[in-house]
């Protein structure tokens, strides 16, 4: 089975985020982060699509790059997976520079891209049997077909599969070689809700077996559900990295207090709502404060505000990889 499975026991729950990047007893030298990116820049002609990204992905974690379409997610992943060249910056993935990485290195990573195809004229079983020839370690074909939920379609030709079934086949091929690190580029785009749920279960299983997963998505709920940490990327810049429930901590600290005064709707956004409330209540000792509400932004709102407030003056340093997650 997966080589790193024996290494780290599966841990449940979100608090595994707090785990140290280096499991005890293992020399830090040999257990650097799965992915380390510093100052990554990629330009297409005059357009800068990745603009100074710093990123660390710890071994065994599921990391989501979350951002709107065109934010630079795919390009970043393609560079990390050694499929594209970069213009500047340092990238180390499983200890090697992807730009010059060996085949041995490549066999340790799995990639599920958006535009990869496995040909049309073979059946699912034939496709999986064929690509087994490319890897040093191979998962059993029938087991793989079951794991991605293609059991009934093993003998169906790939060109007769639905879009969702094709994505599952892509995932099967991505994990066939028992990768230590799996890149999933918008894996559930175009899947119906049931298929998405199934896919999430599959990713959770892989992750629990010790596979490091780096996925890109533009679905907030997907990132929140799957990821230990989420990096929000906008216009090629990483604007925030945090566990999903701590995403946008600064924005979340701000509460909106609303009430009605003299028939007018009042609204104040403040990091210290209690102080405001105290004043409001003191001013209305005998009566109710009509229409009084205190709200904090939900995850969705935080995300929308994060991607709306694109920083213009220089990249925001995420601070990850230096031990703090703010």
């Amino acid at each position: 089975m997966n080589t790193s499975a024996a290494f780290r026991a599966p841990v449940g729950g979100r608090d595994r985020v707090a785990e140290p990047a280096h499991p005890p007893g293992v020399p830090a030298l040999r257990r650097g982060p799965a992915v380390r990116v510093r100052g990554l820049v990629k330009r297409y002609g005059m357009r800068t699509v990745v603009d100074g990204v710093d990123l660390d992905v710890r071994r065994g974690e599921c990391f989501a790059l979350l951002g709107p379409n065109g934010a630079g997610k795919t390009t970043t992943v393609e560079i990390m997976a050694g499929l594209r060249r970069r213009d500047a910056g340092e990238v180390t993935v499983l200890g090697e520079d992807p730009a010059v990485a060996s085949r041995r290195w490549r066999d340790r990573i799995g990639v599920v891209g958006q535009r990869t195809s496995a040909g049309d004229a073979l059946t699912v079983a034939e496709t999986i049997a064929h690509y087994a020839h490319y890897h040093a370690l191979v998962r059993d074909g029938a087991e793989l077909v079951d794991a991605v939920g293609l059991t009934g379609t093993a003998h169906t030709r790939v060109d007769r599969l639905s879009g969702g079934q094709r994505r599952r086949l892509e995932v099967a091929l991505g994990v066939q070689g028992q990768p230590e690190l799996l890149f999933l580029d918008e894996p559930t785009t175009g899947l119906d809700p049931a298929a998405r749920r199934q896919f999430w279960t599959l990713v959770e299983e892989l992750r629990n077996a010790g596979t490091t997963v780096l996925l890109t998505t533009h679905y907030l709920d997907e990132a929140a559900h799957l990821a230990d940490r989420v990096g929000v990327i906008v216009n090629g810049r990483l604007v925030e990295v945090a566990p999903p429930d701590r995403l946008g901590a600064r924005l979340r600290r701000e509460a909106t207090v609303r009430w009605t005064e003299d028939g007018m709707q009042r609204e104040v956004v403040t990091p210290t709502p209690a102080a405001l409330l105290r004043r409001l209540l003191a001013a209305a000792t005998e009566t109710e404060v009509p229409g009084l509400t205190v709200t904090r932004p939900g995850l969705e709102e935080v995300y929308l505000r994060l991607i709306a407030t694109t920083p213009t003056p220089g990249p925001v340093r995420s601070g990850i990889g230096r031990g703090d997650s703010r």
Partner: protein, 279 residues
């Protein structure tokens, strides 16, 4: 950086399979995909036979030169053309399609050695070409009474001309796929180029009757030499008199085909890419 250099997979992972092993698997895959593409199969096998039938109907029992029947003469050109079609044309157009569909992107993500991919293409070309030539020669011999060579020397010539021709065609097909862009462009451009080359190379028209400048242009490309080599196989010895130099000139044939093969390999090594867009 120093930490990076010492990173090792946890629990030693064996080395990935060699290019030769993946290449062998790819030959099987390519042949299976070829068999499942009725258009490709029909085109590869029927086209040369149809050409033979057309030429037979037009020229009938006419002689191209004393003792050289038109069937015999054109069979040589059609056989050479067949080799070019199953190698250069089919490989060039197929790669453009595979690149566009994302098949090559998958191979790139798997770290497939380009050599393994080339082996797969070459293997498929060898099998398809052998089947096509067998069919063509069978029809020529049985339906048109074209005499097939009886001595081993001529078959040996046949073998090396076909082998060099299809290997050169395969690498040139891979090479050209780096420059044609979209699958649509490849599907129009490569066969178009092939047809023009056939006119220049004496496939449709007796080579010695072509204008001198056309002969000279054709002499740059492999097809002319393959047709000439094939004529040396299927035509009587004294028919060499109608060749430009009055001989079969096997030396030049081998040299030109080998030069294209080597040049094709060099171009492939320098320009082959898995994906169509910017790196």
């Amino acid at each position: 950086m120093t930490a990076a250099a010492t990173d090792e997979p946890v629990g030693r992972r064996p080395a990935p399979p060699s290019a030769a092993r993946i290449g062998r698997a790819r030959v099987g895959l390519e042949l299976r995909l070829f068999r499942r593409d009725p258009g490709q199969v029909a085109f590869s096998f029927a086209y040369p036979v149809v050409m033979l039938v057309i030429f037979g109907s037009i020229f009938g029992e006419e002689e191209v030169a004393p003792g050289v029947g038109s069937h015999q003469y054109f069979l040589a050109g059609i056989a050479a053309t067949g080799v070019m079609l199953t190698s250069f044309q089919s490989v060039g157009t197929a790669i453009a399609e595979e690149r566009e569909r994302g098949d090559l992107l998958r191979l790139q993500t798997l770290g497939t050695p380009a050599l393994a991919y080339a082996i797969g293409k070459a293997g498929q070309v060898v099998v398809a070409t052998a089947a096509q030539l067998t069919l063509l020669l069978g029809v020529a011999a049985l339906a048109y009474d074209v005499p097939l060579p009886e001595d081993a020397g001529r078959w040996a010539t046949f073998a090396w001309v076909v082998l060099l021709g299809m290997l050169a065609g395969t690498v040139l097909g891979i090479a050209v796929s780096s420059f044609v862009g979209s699958a649509r462009a490849a599907g129009a451009g490569i066969p178009g180029f092939a047809v023009v080359l056939q006119f220049f190379s004496g496939v449709f028209i007796v080579f010695s009757e072509l204008p001198g400048w056309m002969q000279q242009v054709a002499a740059v490309f492999p097809l002319k030499w393959m047709t000439q080599g094939m004529r040396s196989v299927f035509l009587p010895d004294d028919a060499a008199a109608i060749e430009p130099t009055g001989t079969w000139d096997h030396g030049s044939t081998a040299l030109v085909l080998a030069a294209w093969l080597v040049a094709g390999v060099l171009v492939c090594v320098r320009t082959f890419h898995w994906r169509g867009d910017d790196r």
